[in-house]
Symmetry: C2
Subunit: 460 residues, 2 copies
């Protein structure tokens, strides 16, 4: 007994002190300090972006990213790292697109376009046709089939700058991109050109997925995005010369589905190993750039969340998983597969957090949960004040974790500052140099801190 007391005096008391001293404030401070001084997200992103590059689903790069992230997670000593097989669509861009405006006097001006994801190609010699400019699908109905048939429909409704959160401006404008071709085809259009979803005026065309819905193959018309500067140019030229023609050529193709994978790493929980907390982003990207913000940033942050918990000495009660979802951009097959398997295996998920809004300064979170759950979570808000995290709102979570929605799992999305996101989104300038190290690291720390609290206190 005396010996025990001596041992306690030597070791026990100090251990006790450590435990007592580790308030939530202290733990969160240590998570932020660790991210800002020894974070890995930025170095990893450098590798992913500059050594692997763009990672369109089904591409060699996407497969390399799967293998590399799995290896990195194994090196981190997680309890379990594995791949979840999932078949993904494979769309390829082919050669670079080409387009010009031809005035009725025959003078031509080249413009910057790119095929929209999932679009069909033009005929091999391209398409040249007169242009009808519209802002909405109602415009199509108003103008009518007689005036649209045989022409290229030019969707030119700018993102609305009045929205403070730019994702709202995106939602408000993206029907042109996602459904423009489908709608224009019904009026006999031969192609569509869509103003890039970019709040800035510049020369980058922004790709992104589109869908023909249930349109039969022979009614699928090619769809391309045009840079905002060139959209302005085309509109101005049209107002002066309504008989001008637009030419474009693209060689994209939809191939057969191919095998790919979600990458999953896990720290197994000490008390509730069969209850899961997920943190993730999507590993695929578009092909025009290396996808540093969309969503290399979210993937690398998510990997670092587990590492930050480890190096901050946190032993989670629940099993914490990082999931790098495949194919968010043009299919959402990875998110769908993960949710399917979770259900099939009866895995109880208490929380799933996605980072897919760019690696910018974190402002907070958006939660998809019940009012009671939100009330519990919002009580933690003061813990985040020193880190200038103030945005706790109920709303959308994220496309991939959204597949886990079941009324009990709390779903959430990291909400970074959104002002610059659409400057880069799906365009050739979404590259590593557009990411700031501290902003990325603050995001990882913010995510890790929320995971720490959820793990400690639960969601109900």
């Amino acid at each position: 007994m005396k010996k025990l007391i001596v041992i306690m005096l030597c070791f026990g008391f100090s251990a006790l002190n450590v435990v007592q001293a580790q308030t939530d404030q202290d733990v969160i401070k240590s998570i932020y300090n660790n991210s800002l001084t020894q974070g890995k997200s930025y170095d990893w992103l450098n590798y992913l972006s500059n050594q692997i590059g763009g990672r369109l689903s089904g591409s060699v790069n996407a497969q390399q990213a799967v293998e590399w992230t799995k290896e990195e997670m194994e090196k981190l000593g997680f309890d379990k790292v594995w791949l979840q097989p999932v078949m993904v669509p494979k769309w390829v861009r082919g050669g670079k697109e080409y387009a010009y405006i031809e005035s009725s006097s025959g003078k031509s001006t080249t413009v910057n376009i790119c095929a929209l994801g999932s679009s069909v190609a033009t005929p091999s010699l391209g398409i040249k046709a007169p242009v009808v400019e519209v802002k909405t699908f109602d415009d199509l109905a108003r103008i009518g089939k007689d005036s649209i048939a045989g022409k290229i429909v030019f969707f030119n409704r700018p993102m609305n700058p009045k929205f403070i959160e730019t994702f709202n401006a995106y939602s408000d404008a993206n029907d042109q991109r996602t459904k423009g071709a489908r709608e224009a085809s019904k009026y006999g259009a031969v192609g569509v050109i869509v103003r890039s979803l970019n709040l800035r005026l510049d020369d980058f065309p922004h790709t992104g997925n589109m869908s023909y819905g249930d349109l039969p193959d022979n009614q699928k018309i090619p769809a391309a995005a045009i840079s905002t500067n060139d959209a302005e140019l085309l509109s101005t030229m049209l107002s002066l010369d309504k008989d001008l023609k637009f030419y474009f050529k693209q060689n994209c193709r939809q191939l057969d589905d191919v095998q790919s994978y979600n990458v999953v790493g896990q720290i197994t929980g000490s008390e509730f190993p069969n209850e899961y907390i997920v943190v993730g982003g999507h590993l695929d990207s578009w092909d025009l750039a290396d996808g540093s913000h969309d969503d290399g940033a979210g993937c690398m942050q998510s990997m670092d969340v587990l590492r930050l918990l480890k190096i901050s000495g946190i032993k989670p009660k629940h099993s914490i998983r990082v999931v790098l979802f495949m194919n968010e951009e043009n299919g959402l097959r990875g998110g769908t597969k993960y949710a399917e398997l979770a259900k099939q295996n009866n895995e109880k998920h208490i929380f799933a957090l996605e980072s897919d809004s760019g690696g910018f300064t974190p402002r907070g979170f958006s939660f998809d949960c019940t009012d009671e759950q939100f009330e519990k979570i919002i009580a933690w808000k003061p813990l985040f004040k020193p880190y200038l995290i103030h945005y706790f709102e109920q709303g959308h979570s994220g496309a991939d974790v959204g597949r886990l929605k079941n009324g009990t799992t709390v779903l959430a999305g990291l909400s970074p500052d959104s002002q610059r996101y659409f400057d880069y989104h799906h365009a050739a300038n979404d590259t590593f140099d557009a990411v700031d190290k501290r902003e990325l690291e603050l995001g990882a720390a913010t995510m890790a801190s929320m995971v720490y609290l959820i793990d400690k206190y639960g969601t109900n």
Copy 2:
């Protein structure tokens, strides 16, 4: 009477409705909408940065900026626009600096340096000397005169990444730059090289002002900043070869003071024309770049505050002034002069707001005021929530408006997101392309909204 009623029915009621409908929420929404759809700050900044450029006090560019901003304000139809003469120091960099590290085996490696503002030149052939690396002034005392005399002191204490607000990391590190030469000289050093105040590792040396205090001329030693990458290199090389030498050459000179100006524009108040609200930034910049963030942004935002109030139909009760202060960087003469004249002319200032922390997404304000005043102001915080403005704290206001401090005037600084500021601060990359249009415009709207509320409700 009947006629009056008819007139009221025709005009009065609608006018009444407008007035009633114009809640503070509505007015603030219209200010933000106007800034985001027809703001001028970004176009102006393009002109100031790309047509005029860097504006070091006493330079031709600084004078051009004075003339151009005065003209622009006159075009805006302010009630009064004038120049406030102020004598400013004129320091010139001369030819580009040159520096290398010479190993004891004679191999040399060039590195990126720039003279610190107000520094003396090296002798015309430069200085070559052994190097003593230190982190603090205490290190100097510990190492002692015998080991320092005849050497170059290399201050290499990095900005501390653990500070969430980077301005705190700046305050924590900048004694090396401002007082390093003065302190090292006391130990017989022949020059100082200071690690750039930059949280990032890159190749840009960051200038900024230093002072010799009351050191006699013959004890003034030249001081230069070295890029963070080269500071790391020098430190590593020193650890391997403590006998290496450092060579640098700079040709800067302090000339006689020259005439310059603050630029002031005013909308005269309808009820309290002799009570003033000031909004401003500093028009001078360092010379290595065009000073887009520091502080072209703040100047252009401040000019647009008055314009936004006008186009949003707000007729202020107090006189609102935009003041573009001259010489914040190396003398603060403009701010001092403005305060001097305000006192001399018995001008009652109720509020002065400065934007001098970069054109990044606004997060809120820092207020230097009494607790009672702060209590009144913080009650308006909910009005800013839709614009994701949440930071209302008591603290520092700004260097220029700080000169107005008298215990009754509320002083404030706009607090933008600070994560990227020191990537650009005083370096060759502080250029127009580093400024985001929306972030700049949101800042101008946030400032205008606060000015609107202060004007309407006062500060007491």
